[in-house]
């Protein structure tokens, strides 16, 4: 049996010592998990090593840790894989998750961060009026859609890796916002508007997400928290919620900017995001950007002429027509790949396609069997 080297971040709060690294060697099959490796260390060598774990099968969410710097479940990360992706020559580096205080060794304080944020979004169904005698009758697709966020096992991997939370600890964060979408996307909930207003108005809410995709890659269950946050933004917009954080205005200004110019005209975007150059909110924001703007002007990066005229706009009347046509649709299309899956198309997978088709897991079914087709989401 191969031998693996585990390098584990230790912290024993009662020792009075700072965190340190400790290495252990274990003999196990390569397809056994990092958790099994750690449990073997605990069983045979060192019973003081702390890690939360229970199901061993990636359903209880206990064993979130960082392996080789990336948040993962220890139970579904193979030793072989971890050793093969080691930054330290085959040594598997295991640390506690980030963005949360460490309690002991690989155990972090989920309560102080993760659960507090979950409770922040009123995480329970709030239906309106009396329930029906039997079940609520709701579309099949809506239940599949919210089951994506229901699949969250609260392991904290996304919280661990959230880059917004790293600079703004008050950010509600990916797990809690995915939980919020679980209700906003649920037709049985009666508080969609209130929920959306709440997470849009909070300066650390949906518009505080920096769109870095870390949570999507971190999630072991395919919840794609960032995609749920984007759905919340879309829903907030379609409910006409104007947040104080310029989030919605920025979005609107962006679309308008492209409609006007075809290409982005940055000089207009900034003031428009604050409500227009003459908006009272715009002035202080623009003033605070002044040092950057003056420098840019001085270095010739931005010329006053370009800033005013945007020389590229002339080709784009076609684009304008197109944008107006799609924007005026009552129910723009929304394709949810979690519901529809991918078509299977052997020929196309042979395309190189920037490898998007070929490298994707082949989770596609015959085109004709894709029953539900594109999703339509009503916009109010």
């Amino acid at each position: 049996m191969p031998e693996f080297n585990l390098k584990i971040r230790r912290y024993l709060p009662e020792s009075g010592e700072a965190p340190y690294w400790q290495e252990y060697r274990v003999e196990l099959d390569g397809h056994q998990s990092v958790l099994e490796g750690i449990l073997k260390v605990r069983a045979d060598q060192d019973g003081t090593l702390g890690i939360r774990c229970s199901c061993r099968a990636a359903i209880c969410g206990s064993c979130g840790v960082k392996i080789n710097g990336k948040p993962r479940l220890a139970c579904n990360t193979h030793l072989e894989f971890a050793a093969g992706h080691s930054p330290e020559d085959g040594t598997i580096v295991v640390e506690p998750m980030g963005n949360m205080p460490v309690v002991k060794d690989l155990i972090v304080d989920m309560e102080a961060v993760h659960w507090k944020k979950i409770r922040r979004v009123s995480p329970w169904l709030l239906p309106e009026g009396e329930p029906p005698e039997r079940e609520y009758v709701v579309p099949h697709e809506a239940m599949v859609d919210v089951t994506q966020s229901m699949a969250c096992i609260q392991c904290g991997a996304c919280v661990s890796d959230c880059l917004s939370m790293e600079v703004d600890p008050l950010f509600i964060g990916p797990a809690a916002l995915a939980k919020s979408y679980r209700f906003v996307g649920d037709p049985r909930d009666g508080q969609h508007y209130e929920r959306l207003k709440d997470v849009a108005e909070d300066p650390h809410g949906i518009y505080d997400c920096t769109h870095c995709f870390n949570c999507i890659d971190a999630c072991p269950k395919g919840v794609a928290p960032m995609s749920q946050i984007m759905r919340l933004r879309r829903a907030a917009g379609s409910h006409g919620i104007e947040d104080r954080n310029n989030g919605h205005r920025h979005e609107a200004a962006f679309v308008e900017n492209i409609e006007r110019n075809g290409l982005l005209h940055e000089a207009d975007l900034l003031p428009d995001s604050y409500g227009g150059k003459l908006h009272p909110r715009a002035l202080p924001e623009l003033m605070s950007s002044l040092p950057a703007i003056t420098k840019a002007l001085a270095r010739g990066k931005v010329t006053p002429q370009k800033a005013l005229l945007h020389p590229h706009r002339r080709h784009y009347h076609q684009v304008r027509k197109l944008i107006q046509a799609v924007e005026s649709k009552e129910e723009p299309l929304e394709l949810n790949l979690y519901i529809t899956g991918y078509e299977e198309d052997v020929e196309a997978t042979e395309h190189e396609a920037g490898e998007t088709a070929a490298m994707r897991e082949d989770v596609q079914e015959d085109a004709k069997n894709v029953a539900s087709g594109p999703q339509k989401e009503p916009r109010q």
């Binding site: 359903i59 169904l125 096992i153």
Partner: protein, 563 residues
């Protein structure tokens, strides 16, 4: 010192459901769990929950299937209660937010499950237990003013007053090692099963029979403990569960010769016969040399349309990929029978009351008995909810008529602390906890498994007795207070050994074959002698004592069982 009307130990489905019911009935509630509630093993119940909710279905049909599944050992009055209450419970959970699968008309949809004469299993993809557990936890958060949560508190023993009534529990705060006495007018044990006494098992590492042993140690009888379910489809590699939902959706079993062998064992229900029947068929195939080279059999899920797999069996796509390296949409996966569930547990009546006044039990740690000799798939979630609720309601009723138990518990706290300190300061006997646990698990899986006989069970019992002795002096490494998982491991080992002992002594006694208990030396069912429950009670000197109680039969007389 925390004092509550109702103290609930364990925060899986049974415990959380009990907490909500007790709070709704006006009681003050504490729920204590050694792990965070959403880590509970109810998560693992993938396939669904049974209820005769369709207009063309009847509770009688559900009840009969359950009686037959139990091999007539279950109590029919309890089954009747469960099956009658099931439809309302599903609707109530749906109203609380469970994202149950909908059919194309937007109504609740079902899937087929083993041992059932109708498709009556309601589900959320293959994460039904997880969905239920998380939705109930949402409700605990919602009702935080009525329900105090003690997350990551490990119960070390139950409290009893001079009259023998249960008045609370002692627990250690896992985060800082502090011992606390919890007073209560009623205590509900809802701490789950004991699968970790086996190796391998589908059960989580936390399933160490804590509540069963704690109740047993204060004199509560445990019942039907010989009835241990082996699930037909667990991964050959490591014993992880592949949901029965896979067969419900159309997956089939094949032996090394490519034969669909269930045709020989259960010509009508085939792969969807009850679990004991399918597991026995598999073990026979393996024992008679028709297994695969890796010791298993082939489960072919590729027969299920791919789109359906990806929507309804997402989780086992992951399990196949992560834990067996198999893409189940393309290739068969190797499975074998593996320990999954214990039908037995703390004996209760239909309100969850144990013979010890003030002590209730619900869920896998309890034995009402609705599962008898073999539990049907998708009846365990139902059991937790129905009897969790009933226990919660009755505990609240009991509490409303009682004063808070008094008496000074400081010396009790000191004693408990001293006991734990003594474990920490042991020199040890040269063996490690993990070694003892492994030896236990292997012995149980060898002798107290799908097929059993007197010699094997005797050998197993001797092993258990020796391990019990060694466990008394086994040493540990960790002397800290913060998350000292080492010391908790010693206490858990003691719990598992108690449970294993009860399973084996009951198994020795039952000299017939019924449900999951198949004695190769007594291969026939014997209703004349054994249509009765075996109870095990702990005597003063710690040895188990056997007694019997009748099976309640209401309308379904025992008959031959065929699938």
């Amino acid at each position: 010192m925390p004092s509550h009307d109702v103290l609930i130990i364990g925060a899986g489905l049974a415990g959380q459901r009990a907490a909500l019911a007790a709070a709704e009935a006006g009681a003050t509630v504490a729920i204590v769990s050694k792990v965070h509630p959403v880590r509970s093993h109810s998560n693992a119940a993938a396939g669904g929950i049974n209820a005769a909710l369709n207009p063309e279905d009847t509770w009688e049909s559900h009840a009969f299937d359950t009686v037959k599944g139990s091999d007539y050992l279950a109590d029919q009055d309890a089954i009747e209660i469960m099956c009658r209450a099931a439809p309302d419970e599903i609707i109530q959970l749906e109203h609380l937010g469970v994202t149950f699968h909908r059919d194309e008309t937007g109504h609740l949809g079902t899937r087929a499950f083993g041992g059932a004469s109708q498709a009556r299993t309601y589900y959320v993809a293959d994460i039904t237990g997880q969905a239920l557990l998380h939705v109930l936890y949402e409700q605990l958060l919602k009702y935080h003013e009525q329900i105090d949560r003690y997350e990551e508190w490990f119960v070390t023993s139950l409290l009893q007053d001079d009259a023998g009534e249960c008045t609370g529990a002692m627990a250690r705060d896992v985060r800082d090692g502090a011992i606390e006495a919890f007073r209560a007018k009623a205590v509900i044990q809802a701490s789950g099963g004991a699968g970790q006494a086996y190796k391998p098992t589908t059960n989580a590492l936390i399933c160490t029979g804590d509540g069963i042993a704690q109740a047993y140690r204060i004199g509560a009888p445990v019942m039907d403990m010989e009835m241990v379910q082996y699930h037909p489809t667990t991964l050959v590699e490591n014993g992880f569960l592949i949901t029965e939902g896979a067969r419900g959706e159309g997956a089939q079993l094949f032996n090394s010769g490519g034969e669909r062998f269930m045709e020989r064992y259960a010509p009508n229900k085939l792969e969807l016969a009850s679990r004991d029947v399918v597991s026995r068929a598999e073990q026979t195939e393996i024992n008679e040399g028709r297994g695969l080279d890796n010791g298993g059999l082939a489960l072919d899920i590729t027969l299920v349309p791919r789109k359906r797999i990806l929507e309804a069996l997402r989780e086992i796509v992951n399990i196949g990929r992560d834990f067996a390296g198999v893409d189940i949409t393309k290739d068969p996966i190797s499975i074998r029978p593996g320990q999954h569930y214990i039908m037995g547990g703390i004996r209760t009546d239909n309100l969850g009351r144990t013979p010890v006044a003030g002590l209730y039990a619900a869920g896998e740690c309890a034995c009402v008995s609705v599962h008898g000799g073999n539990r049907l798939g998708a009846n365990s979630l139902l059991d937790t909810l129905i009897f969790g609720r009933r226990a919660g309601e009755d505990a609240a009723t009991r509490a409303s008529g009682l004063p808070m138990p008094d008496g000074n518990l400081n010396s009790r706290i000191t004693d408990e602390q001293a006991w734990i300190d003594s474990i920490i300061s042991r020199d040890g006997n040269g063996r490690r906890v993990a070694q003892l646990k492994e030896e236990l698990g292997e012995a149980m899986n060898q002798y107290c498994a799908v097929f059993r006989d007197a010699d094997g069970l005797d050998a197993c019992l001797q092993t258990i007795r020796r391990l019990q002795e060694q466990a008394e002096s086994v040493g540990i490494d960790d002397s800290g207070t913060v998350f000292n998982q080492d010391v908790l491991g010693v206490i858990e080992l003691g719990y598992m050994l108690d449970c294993a002992e009860a399973m084996v002594v009951s198994g020795v006694k039952r000299t017939e074959s019924r449900g999951a208990h198949f004695r190769t030396d007594h291969p026939e069912r014997n209703d004349d002698e054994w249509l009765k429950h075996i109870n095990v009670t702990r005597t003063e000197d710690g040895t188990p004592e056997i007694s019997y109680s009748p099976v309640t039969i209401t309308r379904w007389q025992p008959e031959e069982r065929k699938y």
